[in-house]
Every structure is written in C-alpha cells, then in structure tokens.
C-alpha cells in the first residue's frame, strides 16, 4: 500500500511537471506560429518588448500564486500597484536628488503596508479575502486620487534613475527583466527548497490538518498578503520605469485580472494548496506573447480580450479533465487494493 501511495504521488508529480512542460510547449508553439505569420515577431526589439511586459506581470503573478496557494485571493493588486507607483513617482518628482534605492524602498514599503492592511482585514477582522480585497480595490484606488490630488506625474518629472530600469543596461538586459528573473528565482527557491514554503502548501491544502501539526494558518495568511503587497509595490516601481507617466485615473487598473488569469493558466488551483512558479511563469509568457503577437501579425487589437478569455477557459477545462483522469485513476487503484 505504501508503495502504491508513493507511486501515486510520483505520478501526480510527473503529471504536474508534464503540465508545466505542456504549457511551455504551447508557449513555444504560439510563438513559432506568430513568427511564421510575421518574422518581425522574432526581431530583438519585439522580444525585448515582450520581456518588458512579462517582467512586470510576473512579479505580481508570483505573489498572487503564493496568496492563492494559501487559499486566499487578492483582487486589490492593481490598486496597490497604483498607490505605490503614485507615491513613489511623487517622491521622485518632489525630491529629484533622492537615490533610486530609496525610491525602491518607498515603493516596496508602501505596497507592503497596504498588503498588511489586507492581511489585517482577512485575518484580524475575519472578512473573506475576496470581499476584503474587493473593498480595498476601490479604497486604494480612491487613495491614489487623494494622494495625487488628481494630478498626474509626467515623464519629465520621473527621475532618470527609475526610467533607466526599462532601458538596456551595460549588461545588455534591462533591469526590469533582471528583477523579474530575481523574483521568479526567489519564488521558486521559497516554494521548492524551504521548509516555510512547504508549510505554505500544507496550510493551503488542509488548514485543519496543518493546525493539528502545530502550524498557524492565520500567520501564513497574513504574511502572504504582506508579501503580495510588497511585490505589487515593486511592480509599481517597474510600472513607472516602463510607462514614465503615472495617471491617477488608470495607473495599474485591470492588472488584477491579467495576473489572476496568468496564475490560473499556469495551473495554480484556485481553491488553494497547489501551484508552481514554473507553471505561473509559463502562464505569464503565454498571456504576454499572445497580447504582443496578435498585434504583430496584424490581428486587430479588438481580438485580444476574446483570445485571452478563450485561453483561460481552455486551460481550465484541460486542467480539470487531466486532474479528474488522475484522481479516477487513483480511485481505481485503491478499489483494486480493497478488492
């Protein structure tokens, strides 16, 4: 029985890995298809543009994955990014001599603070995450308006140290991409190689059992929101770097859907307890390549949203069917043993 369990587990692990490889395959296939229609897709300038877009989304997506693994969700990330970007851009505008590293700290700090407030609402005030963050989605957006007094920060006012993050550096790669890679590596290390990461999965897949083992799900739930906030803040900084303009009306709005879509396409279970950084990275790439590729091959931008929605649905349908196959296989095995 032990052996069959171990077998079952390795089967599940293989399937999960197979899934990551599967999405990776789809990403490559989609990229090749775009390239075949229009070779310009593979021009360095274009790949560069894709990387810049992916760099920002992936930072948020890794955070959201951690939140979803712990059975929570954060709908407020677009607004959190907005507040962090606005505050940071204003500090940069009003104190042009401040070193870039201070601006990074401001962005991450503001984000972490807002994330902590989300965590407090969920853990302290016992509000379901989906409602708490639906509320703060609107509250933080209002905060952007109040903080900025509805005045936008213009490209000329953004310190050059920040905009340099989106330009090719001496290494040949824009720092945004390096930051994205750093977050992905950190996320991968945390979820795969640390005890705390393993415990996060335990808390997400079965909070009662985790409590019985002496873990505190509430603590994990609080801290995933803080980490998510900090990453959204970092995303805010990258947003300034990439777009230069910070407009209080729309900074970061709609990011929550893009990010949650990428996380779901990446195979993260929306009910918590499972998800992989590699899968999420693939999900982010698929979303990023699709958005860029459709434009490059001359499909009207109006098709983008529909393609996006279709892919989410297809990904989830395929996922569910595979998962069902997996669990029914397991059940059969157990039935044989019992018989």
């Amino acid at each position: 029985m032990r052996a069959s369990m171990r077998e079952g587990r390795s089967l599940a692990r293989n399937l999960a890995r197979f899934r990551d490889v599967g999405i990776g395959g789809i990403v490559v296939a989609v990229a090749i298809a775009f390239g075949a229609v229009n070779p310009l897709f593979f021009r360095p300038e274009n790949l560069f543009a894709i990387l810049l877009a992916v760099g920002i989304i992936v930072v948020l997506a890794v955070g959201q994955m951690l939140v979803i693994i712990s059975r929570q969700i954060d709908l407020s990330i677009g607004s959190t990014l907005g507040v962090a970007a606005m505050v940071t851009a204003m500090v940069g505008r009003d104190f042009p001599d401040v070193p870039t590293i201070v601006l990074v700290a401001v962005a991450v700090g503001v984000g972490a603070l807002l994330g902590a407030f989300n965590g407090f609402l969920v853990v302290g005030a016992k509000i379901p995450a989906i409602i708490a963050t639906l509320g703060t989605l609107a509250i933080y957006r209002g905060l952007v308006f109040i903080v900025s007094n509805n005045i936008q920060v213009n490209p000329s006012e953004v310190p050059s140290g920040v905009t340099a993050l989106a330009r090719v550096s001496s290494v040949g790669i824009p720092p945004i991409v390096l930051i994205g890679v750093g977050v992905v590596l950190a996320g991968w290390y945390f979820t795969r190689k640390t005890m705390t990461g393993l415990r996060l999965y335990a808390v997400g897949s079965n909070p009662e059992a985790a409590t019985a083992r002496g873990l505190s799900p509430l603590k994990f739930q609080f801290w995933v929101f803080v980490v998510m906030g900090a990453l959204a803040g970092l995303g805010g900084l990258l947003y300034i770097a990439r777009y230069s303009t910070v407009n209080p009306a729309d900074v970061g709005s709609g990011f929550e859907l893009q990010v949650i879509s990428a996380v779901v396409i990446g195979g993260t279970n929306i009910f918590g307890g499972s998800g992989s950084v590699v899968g999420v990275l693939m999900g982010v790439f698929l979303v990023g390549i699709l958005a860029n590729g459709l434009t490059v091959i001359g499909v009207s931008g109006f098709w983008q949203s529909a393609a996006y929605g279709a892919i989410i649905i297809i990904a989830v349908v395929v996922d569910t069917l595979v998962r069902r196959q997996m669990s029914s296989g397991g059940r059969k095995e157990k039935g044989e043993l019992d018989g």
């Binding site: 509000i127 409602i131 639906l134 957006r141 009662e208 949203s305 279709a310 989410i312 649905i313 569910t320």
Partner: protein, 341 residues
Amino acid sequence: MDNPKASTLASAGKFLGPFLPAVVVFLVAMVWGTLASPFFLDIPVLLLHSGRYMEIGLLALAMTLVIIHGDIDLSVASNLAFSAAMLGLVYESGASIAVASVAAIAVGTTLGLFNGFLVTVVGLPSLVVTLGTLALYRGMAQIALGDQAVTGYPDGFVGADQNLVFELIPLPLTVFIVMAVLIGFLAHRTTFGFVSLMLGKNQVATMFSGLQPKMNRLIAFALSGAMAGFAAVLITARLGSTRSNLALGFELLVVTIVVLGGTDIFGGKGTIGGTVLALFAVIAVREALAIQNVNGQIQDAVIGLILVLTIAVPVAVSRLFGRVKVSRRKALLGLEKGTTQ
C-alpha cells in the same frame, strides 16, 4: 428566556440582522445628503436619478441567486456589453427595435447558459470560468463593434427611461421592482429557492437528496445572463448609443451590492430583499456624495469602505460583547459537529 417580549425582540433582531447594515447606510446617507444640500431631498429627482442604477440592480438580483448557490458570475458586465452590441447590430440590420431587444435578451441568456454549462456539466469553478468569460464576452463585444458606436435608435425607445409610471416612478425602476418581486418569489417561495439555499449550505448533501442541483445552478446562471440582456436593453434606451466599453467594471459594484445586502459570499444565505435595500443604500450614498461634487473614484472608495465595515463591524461587536461571542461559538461548534464529522 420564557419572556415573550424578549423572544419577539430576538426574533425581530434575527429577521432584521442581515438587513441592518444596508438600512443603516441608507438612513445615514439620506440624512447626510439632506444636511449637506437643501436640494438633496427631492423625491421625484432622486427617483429619476435612481433610474440609471437599475441596470446594476437587475444584475444584482440574479447575482444574489447565483451567490446563494455558492457560485459567482463575474462575466455579467461583459455579457451586458455583448448583448447590447447584438441589440445594436440586429437593429442596424433592419429589424424593429422590439425584435432587437428580444434578441439581446436571448443572447444574454445564451451566454449565461454557457457559463452554467461550464460550471455544472463540465464541473469547473465558477470564479475561474466567469473570469474567463469576463474577458471572452468583452472581447466578443469589441470584435462585434470595433471602435464604432451604434446610434440612431428610434425616438420612442431612446429616452424611454424618462417615462414615469403613475407619474412618479421612472420606467427602469418599475422594471426593477417587477423583476425583484418575480426573482424574490422564485428565491423565497419556491422549491427552486429552497434547493438553492441547500446547495449553498451543503452541496454534497444536496446531491444525495434526490433533487436536481445541477439544473438549479444552470438556471441561476441563465437567469444572470437574461438579466444582463434586460439591462442591455435598459442601458441602450437610456444612453441612445452602444459602445463595446459599456458597463466596464460593473461586476465589482454588483457583487458589492449583493454582499452589502447580507448575502454570504460563500453561499447558503441571502435574500432578494437585502439586495434591493443595499442597492438603494448605494444609490443614496452616491447621490449624497455626488451632490457635494465628490469625484467618482472617491465615491467608489467610500462604497468599498462601507463593504469592508459591513462585515468587520459585526465581528468586532460580537467580540466586544462576550455573551454574543459565547452563543456564537456554541452555534459554530454545533455547526462544526454537523459538517466535519
């Protein structure tokens, strides 16, 4: 304990409990608006203004049913946009406005059924499905209309929302009231509604009860789509033009209203009456802010704050008063015994 007065009080409290936040918010907003401006408390004007919230109201009615089931439909606003696009294109192709309106409602219902199909037959989580169709349906509206707007609707249709029933109640509000009564009846006076509540409380047990829970959930999604179709007709009559960005972001406001009305976001508990009260509470807040020239973004933030407080305050109060806490804990323990064992 045997004191009949106390028990009637308790039962009144139990009955009013879920409605209390919405009622308090409504009253506070009305008083505040009246104090802020002498022009605020003008009932006919307020009623007329309320007309433009009725599209959201219709969506919230069906959303209440969907959420009671333990599901959610995030695609309602996108569904509305695509249904409105179809209304516009059918009308442009030469059909009468009545035919176009029926077409919009049919399209909305079909899209709702598609959501329901994926959730009940394929067995996917509704949050993910409708997140997908939120993008898909909006995208379909964009493909259908591009950056063009459909205009040139007939005169009697455009501005129909200004018509008054009994010389007081605007037409959209009348439509909303009729729908609220119908859906309220469905939710609270029929087997369908009973099964909905059971499903939301305990899906597994309901599956074994010999009822047809799948059909129930499917109908709720179809109804949600149908309301999006109705709302598409209303919004077209009100605005007189159709663009693909119609009702952008409405889904969040709709969910907010439903939750404010005392419906449990995890299902199994909720009333149409609560949603109706919450809608009027939100209208009162927005009108009270609008008359003081408060920016729309801040209006949204205030609604968000109210949403959070609605849930946080009862929890805080029950913590402060130990007696409530004990009885609550007892209730929770009893509940846990029932479900986890």
